[in-house]
Amino acid sequence: MITVALFVPCYVDQFYPQVAVAALQVLERNGVRVEFPDRQTCCGQPMANAGCADAAAPLAARFLRVFAGFEYVVAPSGSCVATVRHHYAPFLAGQPGFDHLVGHTYELCEFLHDVLGVRRVEGRFPHRVGLHRSCHGHRELRLASGSERMVAPFDKVRTLLGSIDGITLLEPSRPDECCGFGGTFAVAEEAVSCAMGRDRLADHERAGAEIITGVDTSCLMHMEGLARRTGRGVRVMHVAEVMAEAGA
C-alpha cells in the first residue's frame, strides 16, 4: 500500500479545512494510506514569491525536516507544490533528502493521474461546473497543455473531473486566464487583482457554470470573496471537494 504524507497549505488548514478533509477522503478512497505530519505549518510560498528569500529559507528547511522520509507528499494545491518543486533549490540543493522530496511531492490531481493512474473518478456530481485553471498548477506543474503552447492537448484535472457521472464541464471563453489572486499581488495591486477576478467570474457565468472549481483554494478564495461581495450566485469548490462529494 502506498503511503503519502498529506501536506495541507496553511490557509487551507485554518480557513478551508473541508478541502483537506476532502483530499484525505479522495486519497483513502483510492487505496492510499495517508499520514498527516502534525508539525507542518507553511511552505514559505508567500515569502518566496515576494522575493524575501531570508524569510522563506528557514521555512523551506523546516518543510524538508517535516516531510523527509515519506514516500510521497501530496497537497491539494498547485502553487504550494510548485514552490517545493521549482523554488526550493536555491535554499536546499544538495541537502540529504531534498532530491527525493522534489521528485515525490505532488499536487492531488497530478498524483491521482500520474502516480496512481486514475482515469475514472467513481461517483456522481450532477452539476454545471466551470474549471478554473490555477496558473501555478497549470503552467509550472503542467497539469494541462495550456492555450499558449502548440503541443498535443492534455488536461489532467479535466480528465479526472470529466469522468464523474452526471457532471457538465463548461469552458469559459478564456480557458486559462489568471484570476488575479497572485499572493501579495491581491493586496498590492488591489485594483487590477479585483478586475481580473470579476472578469473570470463573469466569463464562467456566461458559460453557464453554477460552480467554479480549481486546484488552488487561494484562487477560489479570491473569486469567492468577490462573488459574495457583489451578490453573485456562483459557488466555488475545490476539485477535491467535487471528487469527494461525487463519491459520497
Partner: protein, 455 residues
C-alpha cells in the same frame, strides 16, 4: 505615481478598460491561430532560443563581424555606450549635413534613448511616420505598446486628435479615412525630410545587412526618399547567419500580430546608390545584463509584444501605467536593470501566472525573471518596509507549530466574532472589494488530532 495607482486610475473608466482588454486579447487570439498553423511551432521557438543563446555567448565577436561586413558594404558603423551617446551621434550626423527634418519609422530604441526630445531641443523637427507612433507623437505621450503604440486610444479619440492637430474634418472614426488623413500629411514630410531613421529588427553578422520589419512601408519611404539613412540598433539585435533570419521572421509577425508575415520586410545591404547608411549600435545597459546570468535571456527579446498581449495585468492597466518605454512583462524585467529605484514596483505588477513565458517566441523565462528581480529588490532594501516586516513576522509565526496554531485560532476567532464589515475593513486592501472567508470552528490540524489522536 506607482504602477498600482496608475493601474487603478486606468481601471476607473470601466468601459475604456474593457475595450483595451478585449482589443489586446484579440491580438493574442490571432497569435494563437497563426502559431497553431505552423507545424512544429515549439521546435521553432526552441531553435530561436538556441540561436539567441549562442549569439549572446559570443556577442562581441558577432558584433565585430557585423561591423566588418557592414563597413565593407559601404555603411558607416558607430558605437554608442548609452542613450546619450547615441543621441549625440545621430545629432552630429544630421547637423554636419545641415538636416533640419528627420522622418522616423518605428524604433523602441530611440524611445528608450529619448532621441526625439534631444533632436527637438537642437531645432531639428522629428516626424514619427508609423501611424500609431504618429498618433502618440501628436498627443505628446509615449507609446503604450511596443507594436501598437496607440492601442490605448479609441478611433473617436484619434479622429478628434487629428481634427485638432492636423485639421482633418471633425468626427472621423473610420480607420481608412483616419489613415488617409495622416498619410496625406506624411507624404509631404517624406518628400521634404533630409534624413530617415529606422530601427533594426535583425542585423546579420555574416552579411553585414540589416532587416527592418514594418506593416506600413514607412521605413521604405523614409529610406528611399532622403539621401541619408540612419539605423539605430541595440547590440542584442545581431544574429549570426542569413539563414537564421528565417527562424525569426516566421516567429516575429505571427507572435506580434498573428500575421503569417509582415507586409514589408526590408533588407538593407549597404547604402543605396549616392546615399549614406549610418548604423548606430547602442549598448545602454545591455552588456551589463549580458553579465547577469539570471537576466541574460531577456536580451533574446525580439520586441514582438506577445507577452504584453497575453498579460492579464497589462491588458487591464494599460501601457502607460508602467512608466517605462517597454511596458508589460518584458518591460518589467528590463526597466529595473536601468534604474532599480525608480522601477522597483514593476516586477510586482504581475501575478507570476507564467503566460508570458509560454507565448514568448524566443523562450524568455519572463515570470521567473520577474521573481528573480523581486529577490534582488528585496535584498537591496527596495521593497516597502511594511511588506517586508509583515512577511518576516509571518515567517516567525510559521517557524513554530505552537505559534502557528495560536495565530490561526486567533484569526479564526476574530473572523467569527467580529461583524463581517469590521473584519473586512481591518483586512485593508483585501476587504475593500472582497469578502473574507467564513472561518470554521476547527482547523484541519485540530480535526486530525481529534480523529487520529496524537500530540
Amino acid at each position: 505615481m506607482g504602477h498600482p495607482q496608475s493601474a487603478a486610475a486606468f481601471l476607473r473608466d470601466e468601459a475604456h478598460a474593457r475595450r483595451h482588454d478585449e482589443s489586446v486579447w484579440q491580438v493574442r487570439q490571432k497569435r494563437d491561430a497563426a502559431a497553431r498553423a505552423v507545424p512544429d511551432w515549439e521546435v521553432l521557438r526552441e531553435r530561436a532560443e538556441a540561436i539567441k543563446a549562442h549569439t549572446a555567448s559570443r556577442l562581441a565577436d558577432y558584433l565585430e563581424e557585423f561591423e566588418r561586413h557592414a563597413t565593407a558594404r559601404g555603411a558607416r558603423v558607430h558605437w554608442a555606450r548609452d542613450g546619450e551617446e547615441h543621441n549625440r551621434i545621430v545629432h552630429a550626423i544630421l547637423a554636419e549635413r545641415g538636416v533640419t527634418m528627420l522622418v522616423k519609422s518605428k524604433s523602441m530604441l530611440t524611445e528608450e534613448c529619448g532621441l526625439n526630445r534631444h533632436l527637438e531641443s537642437h531645432g531639428i523637427e522629428v516626424i514619427d511616420t508609423d501611424l500609431g507612433e504618429r498618433i502618440v507623437q501628436l498627443t505628446g505621450r509615449p507609446p503604450s505598446h511596443i507594436v501598437m503604440p496607440a492601442i490605448h486610444m479609441t478611433r473617436a479619440e484619434i479622429g478628434e486628435l487629428f481634427h485638432r492637430t492636423l485639421g482633418s474634418e471633425a468626427g472621423l472614426t473610420d480607420p481608412v479615412a483616419l489613415t488617409a488623413a495622416a498619410r496625406r500629411l506624411l507624404r509631404e514630410k517624406f518628400l521634404a525630410a533630409g534624413a530617415g531613421l529606422t530601427g533594426v529588427n535583425f542585423a546579420i553578422a555574416e552579411t553585414g545587412g540589416i532587416v527592418v520589419v514594418t506593416n506600413e512601408g514607412n521605413a521604405d519611404m523614409g529610406t528611399a526618399l532622403p539621401r541619408v539613412h540612419i539605423a539605430s540598433m541595440g547590440i542584442e539585435k545581431v544574429i549570426p547567419r542569413a539563414e537564421d533570419l528565417g527562424v525569426f521572421l516566421r516567429l516575429l509577425a505571427r507572435s506580434a500580430t498573428g500575421q503569417a508575415t509582415s507586409t514589408y520586410t526590408s533588407h538593407f545591404h549597404g547604402p543605396r546608390r549616392g546615399g549614406e547608411l549610418h548604423i548606430v549600435m547602442v549598448d545602454a545597459g545591455r552588456s551589463v545584463m549580458l553579465g547577469a546570468a539570471g537576466f541574460r535571456r531577456a536580451l533574446h527579446c525580439i520586441r514582438c509584444g506577445a507577452c504584453l498581449n497575453t498579460c492579464p495585468v497589462y491588458r487591464r492597466s494599460g501601457g502607460h501605467s508602467y512608466a517605462w518605454v517597454v511596458p508589460g512583462p518584458i518591460g518589467s524585467v528590463l526597466a529595473p536593470a536601468v534604474n532599480p529605484l525608480v522601477h522597483a514596483a514593476l516586477p510586482f505588477a504581475s501575478t507570476l501566472c507564467g503566460s508570458c513565458a509560454d507565448v514568448c517566441p524566443v523562450g524568455i523565462d519572463l515570470h521567473h525573471q520577474l521573481l528573480a528581480w523581486r529577490g534582488e529588490l528585496a535584498a537591496a532594501g527596495l521593497v516597502p518596509a511594511g511588506k517586508r516586516l509583515a512577511l518576516r513576522l509571518a515567517a516567525w509565526v510559521f517557524a513554530s507549530p505552537g505559534r502557528y496554531a495560536l495565530a490561526g485560532r486567533l484569526a479564526r476567532l476574530a473572523l467569527r466574532v467580529l461583524p463581517a464589515r469590521l473584519s473586512a475593513r481591518l483586512s485593508g486592501a483585501w476587504g475593500r472589494q472582497r469578502e473574507l472567508p467564513v472561518a470554521p470552528a476547527e482547523s484541519f490540524h485540530e480535526r486530525w488530532r481529534r480523529t487520529h489522536g496524537g500530540a
